[in-house]
């Protein structure tokens, strides 16, 4: 098998050819689906565990604590122990809950996260779907995720859950607009919605540098709106623990709670990965136009590492928000979106259109 850390196209192709030479096309398809599914499951589970650990450590650092230290060296096994504990917990269903919807809600949330993650290119050749409408697919599918949260809140038959779900719904529906519009701004610059095309377009310069002023504005809007869309602090009033115990997932326990928890961290990863792909070049190494020597040195670092380096940097930024800013009130959140971010965004699209029209970008 030809394994090349710089380009996975040959690797995936060799697996495909190896299977095709032995089996019928249907069996090959089934086996490949299984492999891809297992790979995503494994990645999400491991990365989710890592993210929970990272968040606790980052939070501890901001609060001048050490964070988890007891289980394993530097507390590395803490989240694994927590996960085992969650798996063994009893699954409780409230007596008067709508059982069907109550059990369905966590799956909707997690399936949507998995669907979105499938279009993210991790490295050259390491992507499942590469649609011609890539970015649009991301916004389309992620708009379904809120249904899971609304159902969870309503079917729990609990006032706190319902209030949490309503808040979350209002917030996500509003901020979806800003996420979509800031992505549209970048599509104007890229000229394509296909994600591979967007990454390829950043070969000479990342879009955030290429589009200078409007791209930087769009990046900030995207990160703010993305943080709000994932229900993370300072926009976490859907699960404001001081008011609503835990918001929409108050009644959930065990693995079903873990699904919500995991989905929240996958969504954090998705927002960071989209920011990376659209603004910071995805797996593309840092290139500056014609500086051949510099570009070649940067090419020595594989795309996979570039991707995760950038994603982790954006994630750190979002964790920084969470542990620095106090939680907003619901009217403040909606004001921020409708009175500030949306007008800025609409103006920014015009600005970007002008920049692209007159060729003012690099």
């Amino acid at each position: 098998m030809a394994f090349n850390i710089y380009d996975f196209t040959t690797f995936t192709k060799s697996i495909h050819d190896g299977l095709s030479s032995q089996l019928s096309p249907t069996a090959v398809l089934a086996i490949e689906w299984t492999i891809v599914g297992l790979a995503y499951l494994l990645f999400v589970a491991l990365f989710g565990l890592f993210l929970v650990y990272a968040e606790r450590k980052v939070c501890a650092a901001f609060q001048q604590r050490l964070g988890p230290m007891r289980v394993g060296p530097w507390g590395l096994l803490q989240t694994i122990a927590d996960f085992i504990k969650l798996l063994m917990k009893e699954l409780i269903t409230p007596k008067n809950a709508d059982k069907f919807l109550y059990n369905l809600a966590p799956f909707i949330v997690i399936i949507v996260s998995f669907l979105v993650i499938s279009v993210i290119p991790f490295a050259p050749g390491l992507v499942t779907f590469d649609f011609d409408i890539g970015i649009f697919f991301v916004t389309a599918v992620s708009s379904v995720g809120v249904i899971g949260i609304l159902l969870a809140g309503w079917s729990s038959n609990n006032k706190y859950s319902l209030i949490g779900a309503m808040r979350s719904g209002a917030q996500i529906v509003s901020y979806e607009l800003s996420v979509g519009l800031s992505l549209i701004t970048m599509i104007i610059l890229a000229g394509t919605m296909q994600i591979s095309g967007i990454v390829e377009g950043q070969r000479d310069l990342w879009f955030i540098f290429k589009g200078h002023v409007p791209a930087v504005i769009a990046f900030f809007v995207f990160v703010i709106a993305g943080t709000a869309e994932t229900n993370r602090g300072p926009f976490d009033l859907a699960e404001a623990e001081s008011e609503l115990t835990a918001g929409f997932h108050t009644e959930y326990s065990g693995i079903k709670f873990a699904f919500f928890f995991l989905a929240e961290y996958i969504n954090l990863f998705i927002v960071a990965a989209m920011a990376t792909t659209v603004f910071l070049g995805g797996w593309m190494p840092l290139h500056f136009g014609d500086f051949e020597g510099f570009n070649q040195i940067m090419d020595l670092i594989p795309g996979l590492f570039w991707f995760f380096f950038k994603v982790l940097a954006v994630m750190f930024l979002m964790m920084w928000f969470k542990w620095t800013f106090p939680r907003l009130r619901v009217d403040q959140i909606l004001n921020l979106e409708w009175k500030y971010l949306l007008p800025i965004n609409l103006f920014n699209i015009l600005l970007m259109a002008a920049v692209v029209l007159f060729g003012l970008h690099f």
Binding site: A97, F131, D132, V144, I147, A165, G169, M193
Partner: protein, 175 residues
């Protein structure tokens, strides 16, 4: 062969969940079944490689309309509520309407000969979508686009007026 299995799975889901939507007595469950119907329809579009329409279907219907429906249910109804069973007359009338609708659809489908058309494939990239949306030529959507915009604007203004009116009346009462 594979796509046939997929087609029957998707259309089976559409049929089953459509029936469940209209027979469920819990209104939120009906909304969720409707969501499944719409998502399966998006799946059919994906099968046809019409990705753009599939994504529109997901955004507008699943992410927009269903969320709106669920929102209004959340605001207005309680979890223990069950829809009333329809009376005998209503049941008879809706059965008649259903049979008539099904017959009409069936006759139309069976009569149509489905001639094979050679359509030039157009990639649904940004340029084509953008051009089609604002061009006023044969295949342009400028007029529908503007009409829909005006309709939405009117609906929005109407909603604001309806919401405002009560507010002002309440203020007037206080004085």
């Amino acid at each position: 062969m594979n796509s046939e299995i997929l087609f029957f799975m998707l259309s089976g889901m559409i049929v089953i969940f459509s029936i469940l939507t209209v027979t469920s007595r819990r209104i939120l469950r009906a909304a969720v079944y409707l969501l499944f119907v719409l998502v399966s329809t998006a799946g059919l579009y994906f099968m046809l490689n019409y990705n753009f329409l599939a994504a529109v279907q997901l955004t507008v219907y699943a992410g927009g309309i269903i969320v709106l429906i669920i929102f209004s249910i959340l605001l207005t109804s309680h979890i223990s509520e069950r829809a009333e069973m329809a009376g005998r007359f209503q049941g008879l009338m809706s059965a008649l309407a259903t049979v008539a609708g099904a017959a009409l659809t069936l006759i139309t489908i069976l009569k149509y000969s489905f001639p094979e058309k050679s359509v030039t494939e157009m990639p649904s990239d940004v340029k084509n979508i953008g051009r089609a949306l604002v061009s006023y030529n044969e295949n342009g959507y400028a007029l529908p686009f503007e009409v829909v915009s005006i309709l939405l604007l009117a609906a929005m203004i109407g909603a604001i007026i309806v919401a405002r009116k009560e507010n002002m009346a309440a203020k007037g009462n206080k004085k």
